[in-house]
C-alpha cells in the first residue's frame, strides 16, 4: 500500500509559474467557456442537433490537467467532452463542424457532441455510455507501459460515473499492473437530476482509492492552479512508473445537465450563488491581476484572439456541407 498524499490546494506562489503556463490557463478556460456559450446559442437556434452537455463552470479542471499532458498522452472523455477536447489541443473548426453534423467535422459528422474525438491530439473519444472510458483508458495505459514510453492516460469521469462497475474493474486492474493512468473525477455535485450524495456512498470519491492501494487526492476543481499542481504531482508519479491514482476535483455544474434541461430539481438562486463564489475564470483573473503576474490588457488580448478563432470556427462549421448520403455506407470496416 502506498502512502497517501495530502489533500491539495495550490501552494506555489503565482510568481513561480512561467508566463506560458499562465497564458495557457487563461486562453484555454476562455476558449472552453466561449465555445460552450456559442454551442448553447446555436443549439437553441436549432442549428446544433442531438444531446449536448456543456462544460461551463468546470473549465479549470480540463485546463489544469491538460497543462501537464503531451500531445502523445491519451485522454478518455465523457458525455461532457468539449472542454477536454479543446484543452487537449483539438482544432476548434473541426470540433464545431462536428457538433453541427458537417462532413468537415473531426468525426466526419458521424459522431456529434456525445461522440466527439480527435485522435490526432490523443483525445480518444467522448462517450455516450457513462463510465465507458475507465477501462479503455486503462488499456491505453497498458499499451504505454508495454511500449516503454513514459506516456500517461487520463480517464475523466463524473461523480455519477464513479458508481459504475467499470470504475472498480479498471481501478483494480490499473493498480495491480501499476499502469500510468489517472482517474480524474469531476465531482460537479450532480448526476443529471440527482444530487450525488443521494446515490453515492462516500462523500469523497477519492476515498475509494484506498480499496486499490493507490493515492486519492482532492482539490478545489475551480482553482486552475490547484488542479494544475495536484495533477502535476500525480502525472509525474505515473510517468515514473509508480502507478495509478484518483484525483478528485470538486466543482459544480453551472448549466443544466444537457442543453434544454428544464432544471426542475434545483433553484436558480443556488446556481447563481455558486457561480458568483466559484466561477474559475473571474477567480483566475483576480488572482493574476492581484499578484501582478498578468495585466488586464494581456487578458483582454487573449480573449480577443480566442473569440476570433471561435468566430472562424463557427463560420467554418455553418458553411461546411452536410455529409453526402454515400458516407453512410463508408467507413464501417477498414
Amino acid at each position: 500500500m502506498c502512502a497517501m498524499p495530502e489533500r491539495k490546494e495550490a501552494v506555489l506562489p503565482l510568481t513561480g509559474y512561467d508566463r506560458e503556463a499562465l497564458k495557457f490557463f487563461y486562453e484555454t478556460m476562455v476558449k472552453i467557456r466561449n465555445f460552450e456559450l456559442t454551442v448553447e446559442k446555436y443549439f437553441f437556434e436549432g442549428e446544433i442537433p442531438g444531446f449536448v452537455h456543456l462544460y461551463i463552470g468546470e473549465e479549470a479542471i480540463a485546463t489544469g490537467v491538460m497543462a501537464n499532458l503531451r500531445k502523445s498522452d491519451y485522454i478518455q472523455s465523457t458525455h461532457r467532452g468539449h472542454g477536454h477536447t479543446i484543452a487537449k489541443g483539438a482544432d476548434l473548426k473541426h470540433m464545431m463542424a462536428e457538433l453541427f453534423g458537417k462532413s468537415t467535422g473531426c468525426c466526419k459528422g458521424k459522431g456529434g457532441s456525445m461522440h466527439i474525438a480527435d485522435f490526432s491530439v490523443g483525445m480518444l473519444g467522448a462517450n455516450g455510455i457513462v463510465g465507458g472510458g475507465f477501462t479503455m483508458a486503462t488499456g491505453a495505459a497498458l499499451a504505454q507501459k508495454m511500449q516503454k514510453t513514459d506516456g500517461v492516460s487520463v480517464a475523466f469521469f463524473g461523480d455519477g460515473a464513479s458508481n459504475r462497475g467499470t470504475f472498480h474493474e479498471a481501478a483494480n486492474m490499473a493498480a495491480v499492473w501499476k499502469l500510468p493512468v489517472i482517474f480524474l473525477c469531476e465531482n460537479n455535485q450532480w448526476a443529471s437530476t440527482t444530487p450525488y450524495l443521494t446515490t453515492t456512498s462516500v462523500a469523497d470519491i477519492a476515498d475509494r482509492a484506498q480499496g486499490y492501494g493507490m493515492p486519492g487526492v482532492i482539490v478545489d476543481g475551480n482553482d486552475v492552479f490547484a488542479v494544475y499542481e495536484a495533477a502535476k504531482d500525480l502525472i509525474d508519479r505515473a510517468r515514473r512508473g509508480e502507478g495509478p491514482c484518483i484525483l478528485e476535483c470538486k466543482t459544480y455544474r453551472i448549466k443544466g445537465h444537457f442543453v434544454g434541461d428544464p432544471e426542475m430539481y434545483r433553484t436558480k438562486k443556488e446556481v447563481q450563488q455558486v457561480l458568483e463564489e466559484t466561477d474559475p475564470i473571474p477567480r483566475f483573473e483576480k488572482k493574476v491581476l492581484d499578484a501582478g503576474v498578468m495585466t488586464r490588457e494581456e487578458l483582454d488580448s487573449i480573449a480577443a484572439r480566442v473569440n476570433k478563432e471561435l468566430n472562424e470556427a463557427l463560420e467554418y462549421a455553418r458553411t461546411s456541407p452536410e455529409p453526402e448520403v454515400s458516407a453512410l455506407f463508408e467507413g464501417l470496416y477498414v
Partner: protein
C-alpha cells in the same frame, strides 16, 4: 375512450398496477426528481413515495437487484434510461433473469419488468438511438413486448406487470408524446398475441413499435395505388405469435416486414424464416425485409435521414414484390 399520450398511458398503467399490488415498485435513474428521462414516471413519487426509487448509475445493479427483489417476493419495474444501455447489464438479463426459473427447476419465477426506451430520436447518434429487441428474441425465458400506440402501451404494460415471468418492455422514444385513444377502465392487452390492425388481400406487412406507424402510412399510399395491405402489429416479439402471421400470409401470399433495427440479424429474419419454413408454398413473391442498413446510427441529419426507415422505403419494398 379518451385521448392521451403514450407517455400518459404508461403512467396510468403504472398507477393502476401499483394501486392494485403493493409489491410493485419502481427503480431507475432520475425517476424521483425528473419523473424519468422522458417524463414517463412523472407524479408517481407523490402518490407512491418510497416505492419510487432513484438508483446510482449502476445498470448492472439495477437489473441484478430487481432480479433479487423479485426472488424475495417483490415485483420490480426497472427503468433502463435508454435501451442502448442493456449491454451494461446484459449478463444479468441473459444469464440470470431469463434462466433462473428454468435452471432452478421452477422454484420461483422472476416476476419483473424491465422498461427500456429505444429507437431514434433527435439525432442522438450511435449510443442513444438503437432498437435492440432482436437480441432478446434469441434468449429463452424472457418475454418481450413492444407497443406502437398509447392503448397498447397501457394494456401491454399492465399485462407485463401482472405476468409472473420476466418481461422486457420496449417503448420508442418518439412515441412518448404521440396521442391516441385509450379505452376507459381496466384495459389489458395479452402478451404473445399479434394484432391484425387492418385487413388486406395482396400483401401482409408485419411491423411494430414506431415503425408500425410508418407502415400504416405506407399502406395508405399503397392502397391508393391499388395494393391492398394487411397490417399486423407484432406487439410481442417473444414468444412470437406465428399463427397470426401464418394465417395472414396464407391469405395474402406475400410477406413484408418493417423494423427500425438493423436488418441483418433483426427480428424480421426470424419472421421470414418461420414463413419460409412453414408456409413457403403460399408465397407468390420473395419475402421483403425493410430494416436499417448495417452501420451504427450516424449523427448528421443527412445521414440519419438516409439511415432511418420511412413510409416511402416500406412502400418501395412492397411495390417491388408485386
Amino acid at each position: 375512450m379518451k385521448t392521451i399520450t403514450f407517455s400518459q398511458a404508461t403512467l396510468e398503467a403504472m398507477q393502476e398496477e401499483m394501486r392494485r399490488d403493493e409489491r410493485v415498485f419502481v427503480l431507475g435513474e432520475d425517476i424521483v426528481r425528473q419523473g424519468g428521462i422522458f417524463g414517463q414516471f412523472k407524479g408517481l413519487p407523490d402518490e407512491f413515495g418510497s416505492r419510487i426509487i432513484d438508483t446510482p448509475i449502476s445498470e448492472t445493479a439495477i437489473v441484478g437487484a430487481s432480479v433479487g427483489a423479485a426472488l424475495a417476493g417483490m415485483r420490480p419495474v426497472a427503468d433502463m434510461h435508454f435501451a442502448d444501455f442493456v449491454g451494461v447489464c446484459f449478463d444479468e438479463i441473459y444469464n440470470q433473469m431469463a434462466k433462473i426459473y428454468y435452471m432452478f427447476g421452477g422454484q420461483k419465477p422472476v416476476s419483473m419488468v424491465l422498461r427500456a426506451p429505444d429507437g431514434l430520436v433527435n439525432q442522438a447518434a450511435a449510443q442513444h438511438s438503437q432498437s435492440v429487441e432482436a437480441f432478446f428474441l434469441h434468449i429463452p425465458g424472457l418475454k418481450v413486448v413492444i407497443p406502437s400506440n398509447p392503448a397498447d402501451a397501457k394494456g401491454l404494460l399492465k399485462s407485463a406487470i401482472r405476468d409472473d415471468n420476466p418481461v422486457l418492455y420496449f417503448e420508442h422514444k418518439q412515441l412518448f408524446p404521440v396521442k391516441g385513444e385509450v379505452p376507459e377502465g381496466e384495459h389489458l392487452v395479452p402478451i404473445g398475441k399479434a394484432k391484425v390492425v387492418k385487413e388486406g388481400k395482396d400483401v401482409t406487412l408485419v411491423s411494430w413499435s414506431m415503425t408500425m406507424n410508418l407502415a400504416i402510412k405506407a399502406a395508405q399510399t399503397l392502397e391508393k395505388e391499388g395494393i391492398s395491405v394487411e397490417l399486423i402489429d407484432l406487439r410481442t416479439v417473444s414468444p412470437l405469435d406465428k399463427e397470426t402471421i401464418l394465417s395472414s400470409v396464407e391469405k395474402t401470399s406475400r410477406l413484408a416486414i418493417a423494423h427500425e433495427a438493423v436488418k441483418q440479424g433483426g427480428v424480421g429474419a426470424e419472421i421470414s424464416a418461420i414463413v419460409a419454413e412453414e408456409a413457403l408454398d403460399c408465397l407468390d413473391a420473395p419475402i421483403v425485409r425493410v430494416g436499417a442498413p448495417f452501420t451504427p446510427v450516424p449523427f448528421a441529419r443527412s445521414l440519419e435521414q438516409a439511415y432511418r426507415i420511412t413510409p416511402e422505403k416500406i412502400a418501395a419494398g412492397i411495390r417491388g414484390m408485386m
